[in-house]
Amino acid sequence: MKKRFGRYFVLIALVTLTGMVLFACGQQQEQPAEATKEAAPVEKAVEPIKLGVAGAHSGDLASYGIPTVRAAELIVKKRNAMTGICGRQIELLVEDDVCKPEVATNTATKLVTDGANVVVGHICSGATKAALGIYKESGVIAMSPSATNPALTQSGDYPNFYRTIASDDAQARLEVDFALDVLKLKKIAVLHDKGDYGKGLAEFAKGFLEGDSRAEVVLYEGITPGAVDYSAVVQKIKQSEAEAVIFGGYHPEASKLVQQMRNKAMDTVFISDDGVKDDTFIKVAGEFAEGVYATGPVDTSSNPIAVDAVELHKKEYGEEPGAFFLNAYAATLALLNAIEKSGSTDYDVLTKTLQSEWVATPLGIIKFDEKGDAIGVGFAVYQVQNGQYVTVEF
């Protein structure tokens, strides 16, 4: 009798232990056991999980990329201080692509060669597109906190791509709806900076405007980035009698355009995108920035995970986090969560997990659709008021 009880006890203990291990390291899917049993024990104990982080860490767009590196650093530090993932430590591989497609291919190759399991990045759409082909060939999943070009997910060319930001067409839709429904504008000029991101956005905005009878597109132009003077374009906007400009592009050109428009005594409404919803824009454009509208990711700063993340950032780096920090935080969490839940870094397993498991992030609770866009992430309209971006309720 006594002996039998002992045997049961051991059995129960074993089952419980196994259950706990299973719970912690995922594998709730159907085809688990064999794969983990064979490969895992050897590899898991030794090999760290390599998390690549790629984006602009220097150059004029560094302010978009640095926050992502910091987000990854914060999470990895926190996780490694606990037991890592399934006992594996996480190792960060940080590579700079300066937001240039030609550099991004090298960056991607370097990360793949160094054995990155998954990549958070890249930052700019053009660079991301260039890098994705390389990750695809090597079966590496990349998740961008900021690349918003719609084709990246919608074309279906990059099944290995995910993002924690809504795509440009969602953003263009919001810009147009805001201009028509709220501001009730009739004549709109659409401008862009000829880049992948800006032009893509402008084309969507133009398309949506043309599909709507309430307003007309009086001007559609690409401006040359980095030019010393935009007076000709500004005169053209004036000539077209546009009530508003919808601009697709980044803050350096936006601030020059706004400044020159205001200098020519034009009070044309200026609506732009999350490339402009950056404090650098307000700093550079100064008083001219007042009243400018920009769409950007919904303010989730009251989300408890977001509050924690921002606190952690302030403690570690002594300042407020920069652009796309929360998106990057969410991307890193989503990737690590998928690895943890599935207990694997295998491409197919991760794909399945990312698309089926909800994960709590600073942006809310999200998962991904089969194209790679995050479900549960959206945009809001902001306006510069007294030197700060304020959410516009409508």
Binding site: G222, T224, V234, Q235
Partner: protein
């Protein structure tokens, strides 16, 4: 008609901006036949120096005209020192070797300076205060031309006149022309060639710095990369006007500025650069030496 005038003035602004930089390019090329790619960076350093001086003096509460004049002067001095040093370090040791070596050295210097400013200052765009006062008599025309643009026109015109005077009528100018024609021969007749070349770099660099301060005030921002794009455009303008010729550089810059402005205004800014460069190609086909270039056979 109003629209035409506005585009004309917009083109004039762009052209004058290009001209302030193209003058330095063309001067250096005229004397030592080197395309000084670091010239755009000198312009950028001038703008940064100006910004630092402006920030300091604004804190001290100076009057804005005094600040901008002093900022321009200090930026010119500082950039002149840069130009002088660059020539000594990067070009002088290569003077006897192939032209290509000096050209590569110039490109290297340009990259070096860009990255130096990136690391030593910041990679961010910085706001640039516009301290040129608004003039009352321009008030009615404010929507077409502002005082900053007016200052740029005047500065360009003044610089061109002064340079022409310097080269045509002074002793140093005579020496410069002599060096430009035949360096060895002028050395034989007692011209201090090193001094002449250093002087050329000093003048060219200080003009670029003046341009840097004025243009940054005009566009209201600066970062380490601004010199590169402007430098390329100014180089094109100098070639268009006939590289080595002072009035040519100004004419080429204005033609380029107007081409861009009118093309943007009447057709589309999407193909602004395409059209500007197409124009360059056409002019070079019919006038290989540029608009005002000397068409004598090349020495090399």
């Amino acid at each position: 008609m109003d629209y035409f005038l506005e585009l004309f003035l917009g083109g004039l602004t762009r052209g004058s901006i290009y001209a302030l930089i193209a003058l330095g390019y063309t001067m250096v090329y005229g004397i030592i036949e080197l395309i000084n790619f670091a010239h755009g960076e000198i312009y950028m350093i001038g703008a940064f120096t100006g910004l630092i001086v402006i920030s300091v003096l604004t804190m001290l509460g100076w009057n804005s005209i005094a600040i901008i004049v002093l900022a321009a002067l200090i930026a010119m001095l500082y950039s002149a020192a840069y130009g002088f040093t660059i020539e000594k370090i990067a070009y002088k040791p290569l003077r006897g070797s192939q032209r290509l070596s000096a050209l590569i050295s110039a490109i290297g210097m340009s990259l070096f300076l860009q990255n130096y400013v990136l690391l030593a200052q910041t990679s961010n765009f910085l706001p640039y205060p516009n301290l040129v006062p608004t003039w009352d008599f321009l008030q009615p025309y404010e929507h077409i031309v502002r005082s900053t643009e007016m200052v740029i026109y005047i500065a360009t015109a003044l610089v061109m006149v002064l340079l022409t005077y310097l080269i045509k009528f002074t002793r140093m100018g005579k020496a410069m022309r002599a060096v430009a024609q035949d360096r060895d021969m002028s050395m034989l007749v007692g011209v201090d060639v090193n001094r002449v070349i250093s002087f050329t770099f000093i003048i060219g660099s200080s003009i670029a710095a003046l341009g840097g301060v004025l243009v940054a005030s005009h566009i209201g921002q600066v970062n380490f990369y601004v010199g590169f794009i402007v430098g390329i455009k100014a180089f094109v303008a100098a070639v268009l006007g006939g590289i080595g010729s002072m009035p040519g550089a100004v004419l080429g810059s204005l033609v380029l500025g107007w081409t861009e402005s009118f093309f943007t205004g009447y057709i589309s800014s999407d193909y602004e650069d395409v059209f500007a460069f197409l124009f360059l190609v056409l002019i070079l086909i019919f006038r290989p030496a540029g608009l005002l270039g000397r068409s004598d056979t090349d020495k090399v």
